[in-house]
Symmetry: none
Subunit: 214 residues, 4 copies
Amino acid sequence: MTKSQPDQPPRKMSRDTRRAQLIEATIETLALRGYARTTLTEVARTAGLSHGLVNFHFDTKEKLLSETLALLAEEYRLNWQAYLERAGADPAAQLAALLLADFDPAICTPARLSAWCSFWGEAQSRPLYQAQCGANDAAYNACIAEICGQLLAQRGYEGDPARVARVLRVTIQGVWLDMITTTPDYTIDEGLATVHACAAAFFPRHFCAAGLIL
Amino acid sequence: MTKSQPDQPPRKMSRDTRRAQLIEATIETLALRGYARTTLTEVARTAGLSHGLVNFHFDTKEKLLSETLALLAEEYRLNWQAYLERAGADPAAQLAALLLADFDPAICTPARLSAWCSFWGEAQSRPLYQAQCGANDAAYNACIAEICGQLLAQRGYEGDPARVARVLRVTIQGVWLDMITTTPDYTIDEGLATVHACAAAFFPRHFCAAGLIL
Amino acid sequence: MTKSQPDQPPRKMSRDTRRAQLIEATIETLALRGYARTTLTEVARTAGLSHGLVNFHFDTKEKLLSETLALLAEEYRLNWQAYLERAGADPAAQLAALLLADFDPAICTPARLSAWCSFWGEAQSRPLYQAQCGANDAAYNACIAEICGQLLAQRGYEGDPARVARVLRVTIQGVWLDMITTTPDYTIDEGLATVHACAAAFFPRHFCAAGLIL
Amino acid sequence: MTKSQPDQPPRKMSRDTRRAQLIEATIETLALRGYARTTLTEVARTAGLSHGLVNFHFDTKEKLLSETLALLAEEYRLNWQAYLERAGADPAAQLAALLLADFDPAICTPARLSAWCSFWGEAQSRPLYQAQCGANDAAYNACIAEICGQLLAQRGYEGDPARVARVLRVTIQGVWLDMITTTPDYTIDEGLATVHACAAAFFPRHFCAAGLIL
DNA sequence: GATGAATGAGCCTTCATTCAT
DNA sequence: GATGAATGAAGGCTCATTCAT
């Protein structure tokens, strides 16, 4: 038996555990230090591990970043799809669900938002972004445009569904960017209220500043 | 010593010309290579100048980036203020002017948008951003909120002016981000149409997808 | 715990078998990747064994290389001595045997030649080479010089036995180097013919291009 | 005026001077530490310069090694061609010149021989060797074979010119290898005597152990 | 015996900065 | 003013070695 040393991390961990741990440390580091200053040494230090281990598990820094982005993309996709599924068949409820999804406390954390911004802002990472997120983004766009189309068809709304969908999407995106770059902290509620205000402008009979009108 | 060679840049140039040349090269380099890969050597090469000259004119890389951001902020501010001044006293015309201003071909170039994104996305540059742009952004926000307030007061609109103003602002910001990160090229017209669609949703009697209703 | 799987190597193997397996993999790796790029990981992969086993059996990389060279030296010595023993008492037959020995298909394989070259070429390995091969080489030199001396004493040949012996030895060595470094593949027969041409020049009444004159 | 500091190397030197200096340091380092342990830091230390300068002048380690080999190949080629030119039209004199050329004190230094061995011995460097030296070697081989052919045609010699040429060439090569790997120092004279013994065996009416018979 | 995760020294490379010319 | 050689810190990556399982 080994003497347990509570301060030391266990020397051996399953491959997937370590990988997840390192990816989480990468997200934190991206958020705290930015893309340009995210070094393997810093990621390792954040994870409380040695820098050699990063290369052991991910081979290259590029792959680490790629898998980090893949994780963010996947958890984002699973999140909105879960919200959507729970919303039922009503398009207004579906749209409300999509808007809420992006402010879910598991998704909309300062570290995650900041990590997303790192990938958006760094020209170098754009091919990576397209490769990892292009398909997801397309699916999301198609979904929200379809929902907007159904809503617009109700009760005499007018407008181009794709364009309305895009306004909603960029509003969310812009609010996220605001939440990161604005100094005085924005609450999730304030962000959501902004997005709801936008939805209410397009669909006043379905949405108000507080969200979906029941 | 050196004989003048007509193809060479003149050996003596005004201090400000050289600085402007280097800042322009910095914007291009930020756009092309991203924040993390923007090196002084690359900036100098883009400007067609020697490596050492960058430090001669800006002392440190940090100052070069700082002055680049200052230039972007200043030209942005002058642009929207000029649009606003030309718009006259009508709040609808003023709002239309602000929206158009952000898509002016001198401001809304791929290189400039990409450079802005670099500063937004890089956590490291956020204090710099606050220092250089915080006051400008506050002035812009106050201005657009004031205009939205005046418009809302007309003909029975409802809503919180600050929140409407924020939706418009983040929509512009989100469209800019979209224009940079989305693969299929977005035209300026499409971006503007998206923003007008948003304005039309809030102010349907003043705006339509084509812009201000005269 | 582990169920025996017929396709897996047996979990227990004799110590010497494992060591021989690893040394053989070292020779292959030296040949394929060169001294500088011969890593324990690559050796283990070539042997189809796990990384950690190399250190288990050889403690350090240096010892692995040392024992690899010792094996090469020993099999080389045993080979020429066996050829010599089978040659009988006639010096011409003995010399012919020594020349043939170095082109025996068990000794003169691309991998083994290349491994020898690795040890010759790498300054770092020269003390090791002296330690492992010095005595063998001295014995070989004494032996071939003695044989040349006996041959020279026959039928009116002239010349310094040590020097003739050295020419023959460096010719073999040079042909080996050629066989490794020259692009178009050299056959063993061509190499041997070259060495026989050299022997024929010194001992025309005993050797021709085809070898010993019977 | 700057105070001259005799112990410091001049801070600035012409590009070509520095490159030659670094290549010479590379040869010394290859000889002293071997291919595997030749690091840029060590090369720079040998040259008395900072390690960053190596990359400034050569971009990568690979290019440094490549240019080092190119220099060795070129000086080797110029040397034997100069010897050959001075030898006149007589094939025996030409062959004697070629043999002497390879033991010229400018070419046949311990450092240079050892550097050659590094490139021969390291499998990794063989493509480089072919690229840099393949054409030179082919020219040398054609030249020595032509000379041997002319000599063989004289006074009743027999033999295959290409094979005789190869024996002479590999003898030189093998002596070079011997001069590096053998512990007790070999003199240039002893090496040359060995090669002359070989030539004398093939061309006894033209060569003796002391060289060309006048 | 055997495995493979973990560590850390050392390498190549990049790059901001300095400085002689 | 302007150039480009030179420096050295820091980053990514490789790999010998250690060690818990």
